[in-house]
Every structure is written in structure tokens, then in C-alpha cells.
Amino acid sequence: MASSTTEPLLEIDPPSWKDRVVFLYRSIPWWMVILIITLTAALIYMFGDEDRRQTMAFLADQPKLTTENKFEVTYEVLEDVLIVQQSSLVLDVENRRHTVLDDDIVESIPEGILTCPPDAPADCVSRRGKLITYREYEIASDLTPDGILTVVGLITDEQDNSIEITLRDGRQIQVTPEQITKRENGELACDRVINPLCEPLVGEIATIERPYILEKGIEARGDALVRFDDGYETTIRTQIIRNIDDIEIGCDEYPYEPCEPIPAKRATIPDNIVGIETGRDGDDILVRTVEQQTITIDANRVLERQPTIVQCDKEIDPHCQNFDGVRLELSGEVISGRLTQETDVHYFIQQEGRSEALRFVRRDIVNEVRTPPDCVDRDQNPPCMITFTLIGETIEGRILSEDNKQIVLEIVPERIVRIHEGDITAVKRRVPADCALNNPRGCNEGIWLTIIVTFAAYSLALVIGLIFGMFRVSGVTFLVNIATAYVEFVRGVPLAVLLVIFAFVIGPRLRDTEGIIGDIATEVYTGLDAFERTVFGTESLLAEAVIGLAVGYGAFLAEIFRAGIQSIHRGQIEAARSLGMSYLQSMRHVILPQAIRIILPPLGNDFIAMLKDTSLIAFLALPDLFQRGRADAAASYQVIDVYIGVAVYYVLMTLFLSLLVRYIERRVRLP
């Protein structure tokens, strides 16, 4: 028989881990099982494939762990330019355009009228604007000239009946032998505005009579050829040129005779620098930019050629595409000629047979040999000859055209630009860039926008609902009526329609109304826009979207608040009032705290419903989760993948919020 010591009646082992698992498993409700299984299957599907992973990342605003790209910026800075040649675009009565050099403008009247001549067609309209009278050289044979202009130029080509003349500024004109009044060998001063140390043109100089007639036209948009300090030339519209100063390019450093001071113009033009702000250095802002450039390469320099995929920098521009291109290994070129000018950055080399000096960047030069040794660019006798090799390089780009002699390539070099803060004339755009853990402000699209709008709109809706709910139970007839009207009207309009009304109907109308309502509305909208700009860096229809959603949900929340307040026993408010509290005080300290506990479940319910209704802001072109999904589907045509991803995200967010609401409920539940 058993021993005499006391033994437990039943042996119960403490639950093993297996028992715990089984218990957990059995206690999970069916719906959760199904949900978990479906969600897991969907997640495996969406993250199992590279393309689909990218879709999921795109829907979540492409999050990263860390990023250096905190801000995407567009700064406007002013650049100093030398205006080399200026021309205006002139329109005649028949709307034809003529390009007119400034040198050929005889007169310009700021406010003038160009009238139709008597023989003009019926649809001719007279024009107003800057009336320009200019010299037109290519005149029809039956017109007698209004005048003769005498010019000199270098004969560069001679045929039987037409002679090509190059003028001082490089322009070439064709003349007939009869127009030449004098020919002699000599020297012609070159255009020192284009290259201050250029050489005079030597050859047969011709003096030409150019007959012209005077034409009139109205100034349209003009073009100017501008030269930057580093020699880069481009054509820009005259309208954007600012601060024009007349200067003179003197003869101090010019070694050749004859020399005359040349009038020129110095100005500034605005330039936009677009890129990623990478940091600051004292007063300077560093911006990383990507520029597309087209370059021409001597085909003989190509040592090796491979097809490659040219990566574009998605950090700077998330929408850019990698493209198919080539990778070229180029040999270094050997250059020799006379050194005509030497600056910190460039060498200018004059070679035989070329009319213009070649410009090279000193950084790219290796193995330089000067003859005589240590000569400088000013040396004339003997002239300073130089031979150097350019460094070989590897270039990646897309071939635009090629033949036996040269290849034209489109490249995207990246560079860091240093902008002095004082030079910035305008900040055109400064928005948070990448979404990353260390840059949460950058997470403002896709699922993040959905979450932000949900919280913002719901908070506002709570306020609206509380106010109107209290109006309804206040007993003051006027307030009760206003609240009832609001609730009934808004509940009768679908939320999508309400949003569109707020964005496209109410917003602009309110701002345009006269009087105090218009003023208040304008203030509110300006304030909201400013808030948007500070937080998100941009103004859009976001404010209208949040207000629309809040007003829409406010009606439902008002009813919930009303029900909650009315469910509190009348005795509570009587007791509160008899203690001497005012109506508002009793609400705040007695009624509402109790009411809120009761109505927390429906409030939480509406919160979760709000999350899904935020998808409507896609109709306002706001980049929330749904809009991003639509954009991806429209671009990739993979509709199924994209929308499975969208649905997965919505379910995950809803589940998370649902758990959050349950937790809050449990915390405030009445015992």
C-alpha cells in the first residue's frame, strides 16, 4: 500500500509549452484564423517577387533606413554673364517672325502701333507693343534701298557670283562681286567680346556696301547670345536678363594692333539649380545635381566599347529611368598649338588652320611640354608653343548619332554645386526628399499620407462632432436647428461628392466672396496653405481634403456624441448644476467624461472607417495609397499585383488601428 506520508490527491503537471500552444490555438476565433492565413498568403505573394517588392515599396513611398537626401531643392541664383550678341524677335503684320540683331535696330518706341498697310489681306490686325524699326538687308530686287551701310569683313570663300565674307563678330554673309568696293590684304580686328585675347584676322579684307531697307515690327520674345565667365555660351530669352550694365573691354592686355575699346554689356541671368541638399559648409549650401549633357567624341579615341545600362540617380530623381547605353573607354588626345591664353581653369590653344582658339580644362591635362620651356601666353617672339595629352577617360551614355568620325553621346554627370547663401534670389522649392528613419518628414506619400490624413481629419472631425453634438442637446432652439440642419444635410451627401464640392466648389467660391465671409475664408485658406507649406513643403488640395473629410465625418460623430450625452442619467446633470456648476462646467467635468467611456467603441469604429474613406482623396490628385496604386497600375498595367498590394496595406493598417482602439477601450472600460 502507499506510504504513510501525505500525497496530493491528483497529479497535475504544470502546463508544458505544447499545452500552451494548443491553448493559444484553440482560443483564437475562427475569423482571426482565416484572416491570418489570407494575409500571410498575400504577404508571401507580394514579397516573393522582385517586381512586386518594388510595387510594395512604391506604395509605401520607398522607405529606407537612412538617407542623406533630406531635402529636394530648387534654388534660383544669379549668374554673371557677358552679352555677346543680342537679337530681338520681331513680328510683322502677317505674324511672320524676323530675327533682328541689336546692331541693326535703328529705332525702338516702347508703346507703338504697327498698322496694316493699305494692300494687306483682310485678316491683318494692327498690333501694339514695342515698335522696332530695323535694317533689313536681304531685299527684293524691285525695292530700292533706304540706305547703304558700309561694313568690312574677311573674304573666306570665293565663287563666280557669290563671295562669302566673315564679319568681325563671326557672322558670315554672301555678297555679289558688285557689292565689294575695296579689296586689299590686311588685318581685321577680331571680336574681343567673344574672346578677349583673340587674334586679328589676316587675309583679304573687303569693304562692302550693304544696301538695306527699313522695316517695322513689334517686338516678340527676343534672344541673346550670352557668354559666361568660363567661356560657355548659350542662347537665352532677353526677358530674363537683369541688371544690364554697359561696360568696355579695354586694350590693357591685348597684345595685337590695332586695338579699340569694345563696348559690351554685363548682366545677370537667373539660373535654377535643382537637386538634393547634401549639407552646409559655412555660408554655402551644397547641392548635388544631375545634369544631362550632350558631348561629341572623336570616334578614333574609342579604345573599347561595351553595351551597358546607364544608371540614373534615383535618389535625386525617383522617377528617372535607367537607360540602355554604351560604356566607352577613350584614349587621351594629344593636342599641340600655340598657347594664346592661360587662366586658372583653362588653356586656350590656337592651332593652324582654325579661326577660333580651342579651349581645354587644365584639370584634364597631363604631360605638358612648352617650347621654349617656361614660356607664357603673352610671349610673341618666339610664340609659346605647347604640347600636352588629355587624360583618357571612361564615359557612359546614350548614343544619339554616330558616323565614322564622331559619336554624339548624351551623358548624365553628377556634380556637387556650392551655392553661397547670399546668391540665392529665390527658393522655388524645398520639400522633404526621401522617406527614411532619419528623415521622417520625407514620408509624406502613399501609406504615410493615408495615416496622416486619417489622424488629422479625424481629430478635426472629433472637434466638429463634439461642438455640434453639444449644440443638439443644448436646448437652445437656434443651436439645435443649426446642428440638425448640418447633420441631416451632410449625412445625405456621399463623402466623395462632399470632397469634390469642398475642393472645387466651396473653396474658390468662399475665397472669392465679398465681405467678411470672403475675408475669413481667405485667411483660413492662406493659413492652411502656409501650414501645409511648412509641414509638407508644398501647397495642394490637402487642406481642402482634410476639411472635407472632417466635415463629412463630423456629422456622424455629432450624432454619436449626442447619443452618449443623452445616455447619461439626468440626475447627474441635475446634481452637477445643484452644486453650482454652469452648464459648460458640468458638461466638462461630469457628463462628458462618463459619456466618452460609453461611446468609445463607435468612435473607434468611425476612426477605422475614416482610414478607408481617405482613399477618396485620390480624386483630388493627392498621392495617398490608393492614388499611388492607380498611378502604378496605369504605368505598369499589372493591375492585379498593384491592387493586392494596396488591399494588403489597408488591411494591415486597419488591423493595427483596430488593436489600438481595443487597447484604449480596455483601459477606460467601466469596471
Binding site: 492565413i37 531643392v73 530648387t74 534660383e76 535654377n272 472645387f504 508644398t538 495642394s540 490628385a621 492585379i640
Partner: protein
């Protein structure tokens, strides 16, 4: 416990079993079988009817526009009837590929990406994109490079949206559901510029002077519109191409074009020279007889 376990596993297998075939079926589905013939059939044609002057709904809710007239003329020549279906543009090609309709004519540019899922007819129109800005910005914006730092409105899924994404730097792009909505946002100041096909931009700006907007700069691209047809319906494509050519040759295209645009169409869409004489000769023999007296 056993039953629960069994049921759980069944659902698990079902869920995974559904997920993978769904993945495999990512390709758009086939068009309905048995549409091998075209003549006498009712062809469903999808269009985004908010794009004047190509397609829009008039006050009576009828489809009107250049595309509408053109397609009706093609249908008459080819011998089929049209059922018009209004569909949003951003999903219109996917819908076509899935068999929602048989063809799409909606001022749709022929692009490589779209060619992958649908077939396009021969081009029937040459168009481009334009920039529209409000009057006060017209002093500063002369071309795409001046759009830096501005907010651009486009229509979702169009080549205008594509242009803005690929060619413009430092801009913010807002993709609206329809073109008129984008212009409305422009009129309100919620976007600074709109990039939409030139003919439509001109039409919307002309009929809505209260938008206070103008076109600036040169046309941005050169694009060709085509009629999209479901890949599994080559007979329809052939019929459309044939009829399109017929319409061009007999002058019907020119008529429709002049009605909507007030000017004759570009040369490629006019009848060829020799055929023109032949067409005149065969079409109006009596007139010719009176013009040229015998002898």
C-alpha cells in the same frame, strides 16, 4: 480538435492555392471567343468622354466629338455597329485587354508600353502636348525649362503625365482623373501649369475663358493617336485599318476633320493625288461630261 485542425489546413491550402494561380493569371484575360467576324456585329468601343473636341457628352448625354464621328464613319464603311462605353482613361487599356470592350478610341497616343498589351491601328491623328498656365504666370513661363519649382497638373495615365515625369526637373506633379478637372485646378490656383494634348487644351481654354489661362511655349512632343484593339481580335484591327484608309482616300476624313478643326487635315490624311482624279472621275461622270464638251 481534429476537425478544427482539418478545417484549418483546408483553408490554408485553399488560400495559397488561390494566390498562385491568381499570380499566373496576371496576364489580362482573353477576349470572349467567337468574335471572329466583324461585319454585322455590335462592337463595343470604350472612350473617356471628357476630352473635347475628341470626345465628350453633350447636354443630352450623347457622345459627340471628332473621335466619335471618325469611328462611326469607319464602322459604316466596315459594316459594323458601335456601342459606346464611357470609361476612365487610366484603366482603359487594361480594361480593353481584359475584354471589357473590343476597341478604344480616346485620343490615345501609340506608345511601346501600350503596344505590349493591346494592338494599335494605323495613326489617325498627329498631336502634341502643350503647357497651359494662368495669365499672371504667362509673363514668366516661356517653355518647359521655366516650369522648375512649379506644380503641374496632368491627367492620370496619359503621355502628358509621362512627359512631366521624365522631362521636367524640380516640379511637383498632380495626376487628376480627367483633363477638365486638371484645368479647373489651374483656374483655382491649386496647380500652376497643366500639360495636356494641344487640341484639347485649345478647346478647353477657348470654351472656358473664365479660367484665365493661356498656352505658352512651343508644342512639347510629336505624338500619333491610334485606335486600340484587343489583341485577340485581329479581324477587327484589319477591318479598322482598311476602313480608315478608305475614309482618308474618299475624303470623308477630311470632311470630319474640317468640321471639328476648321482647317483641312495634314497632307498624310488627304486623298492621294492620282486617286483623287480617279475618284472624281468615277464619282461624278455627269459633271465631267458637261465640263468638257466633246471634241
Amino acid at each position: 480538435m481534429q476537425r478544427r485542425l482539418l478545417l484549418t489546413f483546408t483553408i490554408l491550402i485553399l488560400a495559397i492555392g488561390i494566390a498562385f494561380p491568381v499570380a499566373a493569371a496576371n496576364q489580362p484575360q482573353q477576349a470572349s471567343e467567337g468574335r471572329a467576324q466583324v461585319v454585322g456585329e455590335v462592337i463595343r468601343v470604350g472612350t473617356d468622354a471628357a476630352y473635347p473636341p475628341f470626345e465628350e457628352l453633350n447636354e443630352d448625354g450623347e457622345f459627340v466629338g471628332f473621335d466619335i464621328d471618325l469611328m462611326e464613319a469607319i464602322a459604316e464603311d466596315a459594316g459594323f455597329e458601335i456601342e459606346w462605353i464611357n470609361a476612365p482613361f487610366d484603366t482603359i487599356f487594361t480594361a480593353l485587354a481584359e475584354g471589357e470592350f473590343d476597341a478604344v478610341i480616346s485620343a490615345a497616343t501609340i506608345t511601346e508600353e501600350r503596344e505590349e498589351i493591346v494592338d494599335f491601328s494605323e495613326p489617325y491623328f498627329v498631336a502634341s502636348q502643350s503647357i497651359a498656365v494662368s495669365l499672371d504666370l504667362a509673363e514668366e513661363v516661356f517653355g518647359p525649362e521655366d516650369l522648375v519649382g512649379l506644380r503641374i497638373g496632368v491627367q492620370l495615365g496619359t503621355t502628358g503625365e509621362l512627359y512631366a515625369q521624365e522631362e521636367l526637373e524640380g516640379v511637383e506633379i498632380f495626376s487628376f482623373d480627367t483633363a477638365p478637372l486638371a484645368f479647373q485646378a489651374l483656374g483655382q490656383g491649386d496647380v500652376d501649369a497643366v500639360i495636356v494634348d494641344t487640341p484639347t487644351t485649345e478647346e478647353i481654354l477657348a470654351t472656358n475663358p473664365d479660367l484665365e489661362a493661356v498656352i505658352v511655349g512651343e508644342p512639347l512632343t510629336e505624338e500619333f493617336y491610334g485606335i486600340a484593339v484587343n489583341e485577340d481580335f485581329p479581324e477587327l484591327l484589319e477591318a479598322i485599318n482598311l476602313s480608315l484608309e478608305n475614309i482618308i482616300q474618299d475624303g470623308t476624313y477630311a470632311e470630319i476633320y474640317e468640321e471639328w478643326f476648321d482647317v483641312p487635315p495634314p497632307e498624310d490624311f488627304l486623298p492621294d493625288e492620282e486617286d483623287e482624279d480617279m475618284a472624281e472621275a468615277t464619282a461624278e461622270p455627269t459633271e465631267e461630261a458637261t465640263e468638257e464638251p466633246a471634241g
